[in-house]
């Protein structure tokens, strides 16, 4: 592996997303990408007796699909990297208890999806592991409890507020050839431009996404036209235009290529306020929809920049501003290698 300028890793060996697995809740299944997920649950409870168990079921299912598609058992996997939004990332911890694979817990809030892939690719590239299983999850009800109000509370709604995606995504990173390559990763800095409103994460995270994307193009020397899509995690309807303007001011025009997972996963008619968010937001879109299109070759090169707000409920009440981060990972279609 080699570092390219300041913040970008370029993997020396061909590293692949050998297989992926996704599981989602009812609202995501009814969204525009509904057909690209492996498993859709009809109820938010996913047949479990409480929300925590429901989230675990989602991650367990996503992991099972991923392993089944790769034709692998738990014992074939060298390392399990996983994260979620619950206190002490318990969903991941409890799944690791079941699958008994050596485990590293990851946390980068909603950027965890790409943080795990970048870390996994680096470990495989440097020969510390042959096969690394990555997984992230989020659940609307557990996140509401963690960060906002009880599920059934009829609280005030904010137009800038996002809606946590219920789902989980898993991916197997290895050197065994596949259709989607992981070629580079740009790791983000923590950026805080003074937004303290936890109901406006899109605006809070936009500068972090802009910083990572800007750094990526500086490091690689490419231009946005070298990408079919520049996808952000969960900037929503509010943060997306801000991101484009932030970069446009610096002379980088990503208007043509930019899309946001939070806006892709739901249709505008669905009651999700400013759009989707959560670890699973970027994970299910990347491992479901984008993976499928990269496999087909209808997308050649994509960078997914997952954005995370690194706050908790107490920092919000203490009126602290929100530190944010964004990690970018470049995926290339093997069919599009001649690009």
């Amino acid at each position: 592996m080699s570092r390219v300028k300041q913040q970008t890793w370029r993997f020396d060996h061909p590293i692949y997303l050998s297989a992926t697995g996704t599981a989602v809740g009812p609202l995501e299944a009814r969204g525009p990408l509904g057909g690209t997920f492996d498993k859709a649950y009809n109820t938010l409870s996913c047949g479990e007796k409480n929300w925590s168990d429901a989230e675990r079921t989602l991650m367990r299912r996503a992991v099972a699909y991923c392993l089944a598609k790769a034709g692998r058992k738990e014992s074939d996997i060298d390392l399990f990297l996983a994260g979620d939004l619950m206190d002490q990332t318990v969903t991941s911890n409890f799944i690791a208890r079941e699958n008994r694979i050596p485990y590293l817990g990851m946390f980068g809030a909603c950027s965890t999806s790409m943080e795990t892939i970048a870390q996994a690719a680096q470990l495989v590239d440097s020969d510390y592991a042959d096969r690394v299983l990555c997984a992230v999850s989020s659940h609307n009800a557990t996140a509401e409890r963690q960060f906002r109000y009880p599920t059934e509370y009829g609280g005030p709604l904010n137009l800038t507020q996002t809606f946590t995606v219920t789902g989980a995504g898993a991916a197997l990173v290895s050197r065994e050839s596949g259709n989607v390559r992981v070629t580079e990763a740009t790791l983000g800095r923590v950026i805080d431009w003074g937004i303290s409103d936890p109901n406006n994460m899109g605006a809070a995270m936009a500068p972090a996404a802009a910083d990572t994307i800007w750094r990526h193009f500086q490091d690689t020397g490419r231009s946005p036209d070298d990408y079919d899509l520049i996808v952000t995690g969960d900037l929503s309807r509010v943060g997306s235009p801000i991101l484009k303007e932030l970069l446009l001011e610096k002379g980088l025009d990503i208007t043509k290529q930019h899309q946001d997972c939070g806006l892709m996963v739901y249709s505008p008619e669905q009651p999700v306020n400013a759009g989707g968010s959560g670890c699973a937001c970027s994970a299910v879109v990347t491992f479901g929809y984008l993976y499928r299109r990269l496999t087909e070759g209808s997308l050649k090169r994509v960078i997914v920049v997952a954005t995370g707000a690194l706050l908790n409920k107490s920092t919000t009440k203490e009126k602290d501003t929100i530190p944010c981060i964004a990690h970018g990972v470049v995926f290339e279609s093997v069919k599009g290698a001649n690009r």
Binding site: T151, E152, Y153, P156, L157, L246
Partner: protein, 149 residues
């Protein structure tokens, strides 16, 4: 210029969705008013059929509204109504009932004592604290005013 970390929160204001204050107020007025109308019917009902006085009918009226709101919370309906009505369904006693019932439901999985009982007033507690404190303060003021005049 958005690339200005110091004034970022001011400069992004044009990018934020406009809050439809007038429409929100109207919705709150109509839906909150509707809850009060239902309450009025209940009060008349209790006076007419159960021979409560106008003053004493308040208790069974609130109790009925609380029961209805709690049942609707349990059935997952109250938060859907609140999406439309905003303050209209938060301010009346039904909103108070919703805040308690929803907290109870949320923490049910953690057990009766440390889950439900501990968290029952996690949202409503502040209402009770300020209600009791302001009642006490006003009561003392009233007492002194009554002495003085």
């Amino acid at each position: 210029m958005l690339n200005d970390p110091k004034n970022y929160s001011d400069n992004i204001k044009p990018y934020l969705p406009k809050v439809p204050y007038v429409r929100n107020c109207l919705k709150a007025f109509v839906s909150g008013g509707l809850i009060c109308v239902i309450g009025q019917f209940l009060q008349v009902f209790y006076i007419h059929f159960f021979h409560f006085t106008k003053a004493s009918a308040g208790n069974p009226t609130s109790a009925t509204l609380i029961l209805i709101a709690s049942l609707m919370t349990g059935c997952g309906l109250y938060d859907k109504i609140a999406r439309f009505s905003g303050a209209g369904s938060i301010v009346p006693v039904t909103g108070f009932a919703n805040s308690i019932t929803s907290a109870a439901l949320e923490h049910k999985s953690e057990g009766i004592v440390l889950g439900v009982a501990t968290n029952l007033f996690s949202l409503a507690g502040s209402v009770i604290v300020f209600g009791v404190v302001s009642a006490a303060v006003l009561g003392i003021i009233r007492l002194f005013l009554a002495q003085a005049f």
